[in-house]
């Protein structure tokens, strides 16, 4: 079995500092981490490999420094790491990113064997869109299952997987044909600590680095800023709310609900006649 896991290097949100003077986010010097949601995808992929055999290839797109996150994935015990890095990819939105990753996954398939499963995390902590996984599935024509909590069964003969998917109100048990894309939900497993051998291998492994050309991207207009229809109009920090929580005095024996309603009407004088009028209208 060949599994590809897409990960992203993101700023460690726990350590982001706001510049005390300019109030902007200080990106410089902020440590980067593997997007926490992707760790669940990595672990689930390695569990499948350990049980049924095969290889796990981890893929990321980013600046050359994204190599750090791949090296870390290698120390967890994945078999191979590919870094998609090219200035043409700079400024990609989710559309351009899923195009680039889908193309690279095809190339990975040509080079090391067609993937049976592509894993992603549910979403990233810096973009929060949850669009790239489904975008890849659509472009590659893969079955896609999102919010997956567990891969319960794998049938190599029949070429299917049985998945547990968290949904509102319960867990769905779904069967999908392969190949498919699985977006893993958080809190579903725990990333392993690689062995000493994994750690040594990760520290010295050659990371495969692909440019747009290497990955087989032909149409550069679909990449980076050019290929990104999303426009960020403005970034702003929300101003803190001035209102403070208050305790309402409820006289002994009085109704809490009445006291609350009275207080609300006192603060919003127009609300009572409006509501009364509305009630009469019915």
């Amino acid at each position: 079995m060949h599994i590809v896991v897409c990960i992203k290097q993101v700023p460690d949100s726990a350590q982001i500092r706001v510049h005390p003077v300019t109030n902007t986010i200080m990106r410089q010097g902020v440590p980067t981490i593997i997007n926490p949601y992707d760790l669940f995808a990595l672990e689930e992929a390695m569990r499948l490999r350990d049980k049924f055999g095969g290889e796990v290839t981890v893929l990321t797109m980013g600046p050359p420094s994204a190599e750090d996150s791949l090296r870390k994935a290698l120390t967890f015990g994945v078999d191979r790491a590919v870094l998609l890095t090219d200035r043409f990819f700079a400024g990609s939105d989710t559309l351009a990113t899923s195009f680039a990753l889908a193309t690279a996954i095809s190339k990975i398939g040509e080079t090391w064997g067609k993937p049976d499963i592509v894993f992603t995390g549910k979403q990233t902590i810096d973009g929060d869109t949850a669009q790239v996984g489904p975008g890849i599935a659509k472009r590659l024509g893969l079955m896609q299952v999102t919010y997956v909590a567990k891969v319960a069964e794998y049938d190599g003969e029949e070429r299917t997987v049985t998945l547990e998917r968290r949904a509102e109100g319960g867990t769905q048990v779904l069967k999908s044909s392969l190949p498919c894309l699985i977006a893993m939900l958080e809190g579903t497993n725990e990333i392993r600590r690689g062995t000493m051998a994994d750690a040594l291998r990760g520290a010295r492994a050659e990371i495969v680095k692909w440019s747009a050309k290497d990955a087989g991207v032909e149409d550069l207009t679909k990449c980076g800023l050019k290929g990104s229809p999303t426009i960020v109009k403005r970034v702003f920090a929300p101003s803190p709310r001035a209102e403070k929580a208050q305790m309402i005095e409820v006289p002994e024996g009085a109704s809490l609900a009445d006291a609350l309603i009275d207080d609300i009407f006192k603060r919003q004088p127009n609300l009572e006649p409006d509501l009364t009028a509305l009630a009469r209208g019915f």
Partner: protein, 435 residues
């Protein structure tokens, strides 16, 4: 167990470990460096001042890309009274030289850079890996390390212990004793962020110039200790440390001392309006020459803080760490090039080379100082600073008292606090320890 064998395993990626690993790797040895933190620097705490000369001997062109904060042009010593300080300032434009002598640094960034150089030199660096014990053969020779990772035993010809001040591995292996509370100080520090221009205005600096304040006196509440204020580019490092044994005895807590230091009227205006972004604590070896443990043995050497190499009087630690790391690497290389085994008798070369360097010479010079300051801490850190500040006030304040009487008052305040014999004795002891 890992089948692969290394020429040397360096435990730790602080100043000493990085210097050792870098020097070994550049000499062509097969080096594995193990660090328990997420990356080199993530757990390393220092004031911090970098001494250029000692790094130049390892990486001559470090100024090209090392993350340096400010080069120091001014040094202030403050003898602190309750609401005053008597100071000595030295500032010189000579320090605005092409290759400045001292810099402030932020270790999290600096060590990351240093470790990158180690990797570029060819050493294999594995982080997030704790060495749990030294592997010894039947004769006690160190032949490798055990880590907290699965299948984590690795063998090497020699293990360089750069594990830091606590020296747990060496202690666990029975190679040394854990440092005594009288030989280590506990220091706490905070990083106070302020706009660059505010720092420059408050400390009378421009561009990348930096200033340093070392403070001693009433701030340590009679304990052997010192405070410091270092200017970085956009923040001020401020901290205080005292001997662990003194903390034990007095029952004072380090953070209360730090809070008092920050509120001192001489200090408060310097950090006013700042935002605290970091709080860190660290043990500092202060026992000096007499506290240095066994430095080498069969299959191992110990460097840096782990070897208690720190000059508390001159506030020098990282340069002794770097130098001991470099010298250990040179000694190991010499033994290896002679194709001889890493036995204690061969590795004794490390100690000999260290004794010929400034490291041991400096520590030897002050060998009696830690003991003197410790025993006399009430006098040196409380009584004298109070007296000096009182004398200065008496000298400066104009209130119609005839000068002759003022002199008498000052003399009297000294002799009533400490007898003539005591005063002369202290001066004599201090001079002898300094010599």
């Amino acid at each position: 167990m890992i089948d692969e064998r290394f020429d040397a395993i360096v435990v730790g990626a602080g100043m000493a470990g990085n210097a050792a690993a870098y020097s070994l790797a550049t000499k062509g040895l097969k080096v594995l460096q193990l660090e328990r933190g997420e990356y080199s620097g993530s757990k390393n705490v220092q004031g911090a001042i970098l001494y250029a000369d000692m790094l130049e001997k390892i990486i001559p062109d470090f100024r090209e890309d090392a993350p340096l904060e400010r080069h120091l042009i001014e040094q202030r010593f403050w003898m602190m009274g309750e609401s005053s300080h008597t100071g000595l300032h030295y500032r010189s434009d000579d320090f605005n030289e092409e290759k400045p002598n001292r810099y402030t640094i932020i270790r999290a960034q600096f060590d990351k850079w240093f470790n990158k150089k180690v990797q570029e030199a060819g050493a294999l660096v594995v982080c997030e890996t704790t060495v749990t014990e030294l592997v010894q053969d039947a004769y006690g020779k160190v032949i490798g390390v055990k880590t907290d990772r699965g299948g984590g035993q690795i063998h090497a010809d020699v293990v360089v212990l750069a594990e830091g001040v606590s020296g747990l591995l060496g202690t666990r292996a029975g190679l040394r004793k854990i440092p005594k509370p009288t030989d280590v100080a506990l220091a706490v520090k905070e990083m106070h962020f302020l706009p660059q221009e505010v720092i420059e205005e408050r400390f009378n600096l421009k561009g990348n110039e930096g200033a340093v304040i070392e403070a001693a006196g009433t701030i340590s509440a009679g304990m052997t200790g010192m405070g410091f204020i270092y200017t970085n580019r956009e923040c001020i490092s401020l901290g205080i440390g005292c001997l662990v044994s003194d903390f034990q005895k007095s029952g004072e807590s380090p953070y209360t001392l730090l809070e008092k230091f920050k509120k001192h009227p001489s200090v408060a205006p310097l950090i006013e309006g700042s935002e605290v972004k970091e709080y860190a604590a660290h043990l500092i070896p202060e026992g000096g020459y007499k506290a240095i443990p066994q430095l080498f043995g069969d299959g191992w050497v110990v460097v840096g803080d782990a070897a208690q190499l720190n000059n508390a009087i001159h506030r020098e630690g990282s340069n002794l760490a770097m130098t001991s790391g470099r010298i250990a690497a040179e000694a190991i290389f010499q033994v290896k090039s002679r194709k001889e085994p890493m036995t204690a008798s061969n590795l004794a070369l490390y100690k000999k080379m260290l004794e010929d360097s400034f490291v041991m010479k400096d520590l030897k010079k002050y060998k009696d100082m830690p003991q003197l300051l410790h025993v006399q801490s009430q006098n040196f850190f409380l009584t004298y600073p109070q007296l000096v500040n009182k004398a200065m006030q008496n000298f400066v304040r104009v209130d119609g008292t005839p000068k002759k009487e003022k002199e008498k008052l000052t003399m009297k305040s000294f002799t009533s606090a400490r007898s003539w014999a005591g005063l002369f004795g202290d001066a004599f002891r201090l001079a002898r320890a300094w010599r």
